[in-house]
Symmetry: C2
Subunit: 305 residues, 2 copies
Amino acid sequence: MSLLVVGSVALDSVETPFDKVEAALGGSATYISLAASYFSAPVELVGVVGDDFPKQYTEMLERHNVDLEGLQIIKGEKTFRWGGKYHYDLNVRDTLFTELNAFENFNPVLPDRYKKSRYICLGNIDPILQMRVLEQVSDPQFVVCDTMNLWINLMKLDLLKLLKKVHVFILNDSEARMLTEEPNLIKAAKLIRQMGPEILIIKKGEHGAMLFTNDTIFSAPAYPMEIIFDPTGAGDSFAGGFTGYLHKTRDLSPENIKRAVIYGSTMASFCVEKFSTKGLEDLSYLQIQDRFREFRKISSFNETD
Amino acid sequence: MSLLVVGSVALDSVETPFDKVEAALGGSATYISLAASYFSAPVELVGVVGDDFPKQYTEMLERHNVDLEGLQIIKGEKTFRWGGKYHYDLNVRDTLFTELNAFENFNPVLPDRYKKSRYICLGNIDPILQMRVLEQVSDPQFVVCDTMNLWINLMKLDLLKLLKKVHVFILNDSEARMLTEEPNLIKAAKLIRQMGPEILIIKKGEHGAMLFTNDTIFSAPAYPMEIIFDPTGAGDSFAGGFTGYLHKTRDLSPENIKRAVIYGSTMASFCVEKFSTKGLEDLSYLQIQDRFREFRKISSFNETD
């Protein structure tokens, strides 16, 4: 049974204090699929691009066993483009432009065999589209959903409707506060879990991530990095690593979900080490496990020697 | 050998969204001594108050085996007073007033037996005063130093001079960025350690704390709290729990320093559960150990089951 991923596929122009790239591969579905591909194969991608989408990118995704039957290529249209600039303090980002192009009229249609997927990762796109994908799946068993501030602002009701069908909801700390209008994150987490998702993950960037379940609060550290080359896609890579690991292990015990959070954090840390998707293109499973162990080293302590 | 603590002793008027208090016990030396008193006895306090300082407060400190021979009581002067207001988002605080009073001409003079102390916690006060205390100690073995944004802004050169004589420096994330003008915390930590302190702790409030030593980065979670009644003194309580535990155990191994960070976080979490010093007045060592274990539960994960 494959892992189904929906989200954006984009060409990103990104500027950071270190470098800049033009029309590099990006988009939530791209990052999620690549990060998940190290755990699950194949990953079924649902998305849309224009006929300007470079062949080298489809080839790279296929090399990672990403199934692209669900990637619509719209003739005469251009691929979704996003331009952003990060400042010296990488927590601050300006969107320079957003050209929806082929994405504007995206109507996700799942190839028949995708409909049998049990594990689904709804990457960050309009919650109506996320719902439309979910409705085509015959028996969704484990649904992970990511979002962003834009949808909380503009489409809160659609998002709330979707949350009732979601098992794991992932968002960042400012989004959690925005969604609940509650400054205390622990209270905000409680309120969000009442909206539907049994499992909630709040991403906190350089401060790591927190996992909330019925009986667990788990605090995962961030990987300590002196240089972050390009923060784009970190959250998507987290979602991909998290979902991919759970899809691989099929173990939804609290202990294994904690491990999935660390694998998500691991993939996010690799993502930001290079521009665009480069940090996720050439990893070995050994590298991933080594970094997982580094996360343990950073956060473990004992009561006595 | 006792633990020597210097800092402010104050009467605080604090308002939060939950309640308000007038002229309640506060000050960095007070919180540090109380938090440390659960690990080390006696704690030798160096500070100054006016003759308006309520007897009930000296009695309470003495009940916790805090040695007050080093607490100067200035006749005809009033005790240092601070007034602050916390907003709904408790990360934001306004100082309403600061009356230095007896503190204005504070000249710390150590009673002779204090001079033999080996473990010293320099609580947050003017770095010139911190230095003046340190210079009176005959053979300081382990010096912990806390500070605040005010001294980084106004007395950076004095602070830098002091840092060369300090083994552990504690400050918060925004202060670390301010001191180094470096937004990346991992880089900032490296720069600060080059200023002198072998061990650096960066407090991150609701995001926990980070420990940096020569070969260790350790990320400690915050205790998840739905209601923080009064954040005043949390950082001081951290310093007190941290130093007190190390003074008690006399073990400066990396593993034990990590534990000290968790004991510091534990004392900070008790501090903010009640107004003023109330959260630190009636604890049992069993309660402290239980919470220490909760920190383990929050942050531990294994590679396999």
